[in-house]
């Protein structure tokens, strides 16, 4: 019986062979691919080319970030549709109920979070309170972004006197403890819903400007900017095509986390009476009421604060997730 033996030469592929079966070599060859050779594909089996594609994939893998996104979307949906489902089920957040004994009820099936001192259902107030918090958060950060990005870009790209002036102004803003500055600003403008997000927005620009400016500065130094310029690209084109995409990443991270910060600040201001005014439901305001009723109705403290915690935490974790996903240096 003849055995089949595999000689190494039998594993040859296309390529000219001489009589002896040796492949004919040309200069500096790389050997042809054998089946079973291992190639360096990434773990998904696809080679990802773009920064954003990569980042998105990494983000999806980050469980905490995914949970955060889901939570935020849930809150948004819950609060946007609140008129539809909260009011019929639990009651109007603004509906004062003067029937004796209907106020300060502890949690029950009808009022899962209880009722407050004016007989209003706490659960529906918490849900509606999300509107205030989210709106203030987003609007305030938008204002900060608007001012901060412009000033940061000017500062970073122009340099020189503009830079010094902008950064010194930022330093002055930084010298004030945040909440105190907000309080003073609102003291002058008058406490109201609108003034809250204006004040938070105005106070937020220095951090954003600083972050953006340092991104721009470090990118400006990079050689590929010189290369682009050497190719004849205009300043504007350079800004847009090269500087911006890289500078945007830290802004996304910082902006997301700022929304969380803005929500807490709004709550703090409302707690102190410098924010949203009653009867608009705001989590901070609800906590302020709860404070004076602590001995009588401790449950009033729990839910508004918990709402703040989970909402802000979602934004913070999401920001963290963005940072991990977009940080090129950590790419393995």
């Amino acid at each position: 019986m003849t055995e089949e033996r595999h000689h190494p030469r039998d594993h040859r592929i296309d390529g000219p062979t001489d009589v002896g079966g040796h492949e004919v070599r040309t200069e500096a060859t790389t050997l042809p691919v054998l089946p079973g050779d291992v190639h360096a594909y990434d773990t998904q089996g696809t080679s990802s080319r773009t920064l954003w594609g990569d980042a998105w994939r990494r983000l999806r893998r980050n469980k905490l970030a995914v949970v955060s996104i889901v939570w935020i979307i849930m809150i948004v949906i819950m609060t946007v549709t609140a008129d539809v489902w909260v009011v019929p089920l639990f009651g109007d957040p603004l509906a004062v109920n003067t029937t004796p004994g209907s106020n300060l009820q502890s949690p029950s099936l009808e009022h899962p979070f209880g009722t407050d001192k004016l007989g209003r259902d706490v659960f529906s107030r918490v849900v509606y309170g999300a509107r205030v918090s989210l709106t203030v958060g987003v609007l305030a950060v938008s204002i900060s972004l608007l001012i901060g990005l412009v000033l940061g870009a000017l500062s970073g790209y122009r340099g020189g006197l503009t830079d010094t002036f902008v950064m010194r102004t930022a330093d002055v803003f930084f010298a004030f403890p945040y909440i105190l500055f907000a309080i003073s600003l609102i003291a002058v403008l008058g406490p109201s819903y609108r003034n809250v997000f204006i004040a938070i927005g105005i106070l937020g620009w220095p951090s954003i400007a600083r972050v953006f400016r340092s991104s721009i500065l470090s990118i400006k130094e990079n050689e590929y900017i010189d290369a682009a310029r050497a190719m004849g690209a205009s300043d504007f084109r350079i800004m847009f095509r090269h500087v911006m995409p890289n500078a945007v990443a830290p802004i996304i991270v910082y902006g997301t986390m700022s929304i969380g910060g803005a929500i807490i600040t709004e709550a703090a201001l409302s707690f102190l009476g410098m924010g949203v005014q009653p009867p608009t439901p705001s989590w901070g305001l609800m906590l302020s009421d709860a404070k004076s009723l602590m001995f009588v109705a401790p449950w009033l403290t729990i839910w508004p604060g918990f709402a703040i915690l989970t909402t802000v935490l979602a934004f913070v974790l999401l920001g963290d997730g963005f940072r991990d996903a977009l940080d090129v240096k950590m790419k393995d």
Binding site: R9, E23, V38, A40, D332
Partner: protein
């Protein structure tokens, strides 16, 4: 008497997210007192990891010595416990690193850093350690050593810092000094001074030196024996004369051929080795060098070459090289060209 250092089949691996990195895959050599071993190779060839493995300085648990022996005066370092290894480090085996600026702690004075090993290993008091430090600094050529000893690292120049590092390494009079690219971060003029200093110190103390470098010129100057590494594997090992004048591995041929030569018209193109060093996670099957080897045969893809003794302790990891000719790739003809 057992040799000072005997490394047998050392293999070190790192576990990373992307796979297992075979940083060192089978290294064998012997070192006696007063000798200098030059370890050459490209970045990523495993030279530094070999040194770190000898001193058990790997980051655990990612880095591990998976097999082999490192016999220091007959005792296996691989099998020692932490406390035994620590007593060797700095005292019997010392190491200096590539970048003296970052290798010295910026917040402590020089005398404190040099004195640290003296106090730890020799039981000296702070005063005794200081005096010895001043002596050492003088020995390595630092002017006004008594004053300079109280300086911080950032107050020294690059060359001086490296001298200080050498002083620190030699403080306890070690048997072996491992130098990992000690001159790479320095100016060319300072490089020569530092190398001279090291040789002088070796004369004086009788220590053995393991010199890790990618610069063949440095090796030619100093080494008694040479070990060439590629992709974590040892491809050639022998006396310096043998390796330089009778190289037997295609990679060594490539290295020597790629050196710029002063006896040739400057318009002649340089001869780099084509291709890139492989990833240590996906080492090519068979002989690691085969994708870039001008002389590769089909067998090279399949068989992992063992180190063969081609005479007098000269080891080569290529079974076919004697059939090929080094002159074909432009390397120095046999026996030609002295310093």
């Amino acid at each position: 008497m057992p040799p000072l250092l005997e490394v047998k089949n050392l293999a070190t691996q790192f576990t990373t997210r992307d796979g297992i990195v075979k940083a060192v895959d089978g290294v064998t050599f012997t070192l006696e007192a007063g000798e200098t071993l030059g370890v050459v190779g490209e970045s990523g060839s495993g030279k530094s990891v070999t040194a770190l493995s000898i001193m058990r300085l790997l980051q655990e648990p990612q880095g591990k010595i998976v097999s082999g022996e490192v016999l220091f005066k007959g005792e296996d370092i691989v099998k020692m416990n932490d406390s035994q290894v620590r007593s060797l480090r700095g005292d019997r085996i010392a190491m200096i690193f590539q970048d003296p600026m970052t290798s010295l702690n910026p917040v402590y004075r020089i005398d404190r850093q040099i004195g640290e090993s003296l106090i730890l290993h020799k039981g000296m008091s702070k005063k005794e350690a200081f005096e010895r430090t001043v002596e050492l600094l003088e020995l390595v050529g630092i002017p006004h050593p008594r004053d300079r000893a109280r300086d911080y690292p950032h107050q020294f120049s690059g060359g001086m810092r490296q001298r200080a590092m050498i002083a620190m390494a030699l403080a306890c009079d070690p048997d072996i000094l491992i130098a990992d690219e000690p001159t790479t971060a320095l100016d060319v003029t300072i490089q020569a001074q530092i190398l001279e200093l090291m040789m002088e110190m070796q004369q004086r103390t009788g220590a053995a030196i393991i010199m890790i470098t990618h610069d063949l010129g440095v090796v030619a100057d100093m080494a008694d024996d040479v070990m060439v590494m590629y992709a974590g594997k040892q491809v050639e090992y022998g006396s310096a004369d043998e390796v330089f004048y009778n190289p037997r591995h295609p990679y060594t041929w490539g290295l020597l051929a790629s050196l710029p030569r002063h006896d040739v018209d400057e318009k002649t193109c340089l001869n780099p080795i084509a291709g890139q060093p492989p990833s240590l996670i996906n080492v090519p099957p068979g002989c690691a060098f085969h994708p870039r080897c001008t002389y590769a045969r089909p067998e090279c893809r399949v068989q992992t070459p063992r180190l063969l003794n081609v005479g007098g302790g000269h080891l080569v990891a290529c079974p076919y090289s004697s059939e090929e000719s080094p002159e074909a790739c432009g390397v120095l003809p046999r026996g030609a060209g002295a310093q």
